[in-house]
Amino acid sequence: ISEKSESSDVIRGSSTLKRGFAHMLKNGVVMDVTTVEQAQIAEEAGAVSVMVLDKLPSDVRKAGGVARTASIRIIEDIMDSVTIPVMAKCRIGHVNEALVLQETDVDMIDESEVLTPADELRHIWKWDLTTPVVNGARSLAEALRRVEEGAAMIRTKGEPGTGNVAEAITHIKKVNDELRAIKSIYDSGDNQDLVRMSREFKVSYDIVEQTAKLGRLPVVNFAAGGIATPADAAYLMSLGCDGIFVGSGIFNANDAPERARAIVLATTFWDETDKVKEAQKMIDERQSMLGLDVKTLELRMQDRGGSA
């Protein structure tokens, strides 16, 4: 902290700065990468940021075992080779992995259900961090709980590593429905019910009141989990998501560069269907990753930490 100036002081890590950063990603695509090359492919494709892992989610699913934060060195190599922001995942509840990432100067930390949790009962208290943190949510209840702990950004959980967008669609619509529910209760001025809802969500009464007044989540909200085609992306944008996380949908397909490009185009021009069509045309259905039908999964990542 070195500064020479006339007479006043600077503030860091305020929630304006943390949420502000998230605002910069709006209408963008964040891609999972494991190597420098993939990161550069992502940048050229027009991604607004990359998420560093050491295995893509669908490979995490296959390997089993314990999954932890990525290697620090790899994260730094990637940071030194792209200009776009760089994110990394840490295990749920593992405070020190977060501090280490913060020390590594990543632009955002993802407290993620893709890794093996360290403590399923307590999420990290994120107000103490300077670096912004993003969390997954399957419903408004989970989203508000994370915001209350200091999350700067929210994403749907979907079911990572399946290439099936159905769960993500379910989650985002659930969020929208609950938003609508409390908004309508709030407008009818029926406090008895509002307080009943806040107990169902297990969050404090005020934050429900504000959210109801705002009519949307108080923080930026992206879609994630099982997105595999441009059409998926465009559709989620039309459902009111502020942006897109793409996991193994890209680099597990066999035509990755074009697929990356196509998804960026579809996200940017989601409301211009001719361009979405052009984007859709850039992919070949037989190349996309073979999905998994969620009704028959063993490991449902989305349940992790769900009871907290």
Binding site: F21, M24, L265
Partner: protein, 204 residues
């Protein structure tokens, strides 16, 4: 006849600028409307344009792809005032380098021949809020929000509006303004009011 002020909405935080501009127009009680623009046709009818904060690389490419880059060039050469915020400013410059990555060859508009250094205050962690003053346009202790802000290391023939720690963080050349901080993330509307007047003046 009311002025039309546009916000380029290819990528980045568009909504915050929209609400700031609307609030300014209301304060100044001017006769202007705010439009969210993306396609060439929409841009061609604007009297003023704001290029918002975001990822300059992405904005560059997407505006190249849908051909709104050409339009912006003509309109600016034809004297339309433009406000470039952070990523916006990078796009208006003619060359950009990264503090760690070195030279980048991203598509630029290259209006300003300034040499600027991206992320010069470091990464997200070093983002900060501080008071700055731009006396030459009558704004004193403006709360500046610097997020992964670039800084201009050496400036050609442009007018320097503000400095912080001997680093140029705001400039003006004709009806082009560039800031490396985010005026749309604070309550203070001074910069937006100034830009609205600028659009008014250049219209008549």
């Amino acid at each position: 006849m009311s002025a039309k002020i546009g916000i380029l909405s290819v990528q980045g935080d568009v909504a915050e600028n929209a609400s700031s501009l609307i609030a300014s127009i209301a304060d100044l009680n001017e006769d202007a409307t705010v439009h969210v623009v993306k396609t060439p046709e929409e841009i061609s009818q604007m009297d003023g344009l704001v290029i918002p904060g975001g990822e300059s690389t992405t904005i560059g490419q997407m505006s190249l792809v849908n051909g709104s880059q050409k339009i912006i060039k003509q309109k600016v050469e034809s004297g339309m005032p433009v406000l470039g915020i952070c990523a916006g400013m990078i796009l208006l410059s003619n060359n950009a380098s990264d503090k760690v990555v070195g030279k980048t060859e991203q598509p630029l508009f290259d209006f300003l021949d300034i040499e600027l250094e991206r992320n010069s205050f470091g990464r997200q962690r070093e983002s900060f809020e501080a008071n700055i003053s731009m006396d030459s346009i009558g704004i004193s202790n403006f709360n500046g929000v610097f997020i992964r802000a670039p800084a201009i290391s050496s400036a050609g023939d442009v007018e320097v509006l503000a400095k912080f720690n001997e680093k140029i963080v705001a400039i003006k050349k004709g009806n082009i303004i560039g800031t490396s901080f985010h005026p749309e993330l604070t309550e203070d509307l001074a910069v937006h009011k100034y830009f609205v007047n600028l659009v008014k003046d250049s219209k008549n």
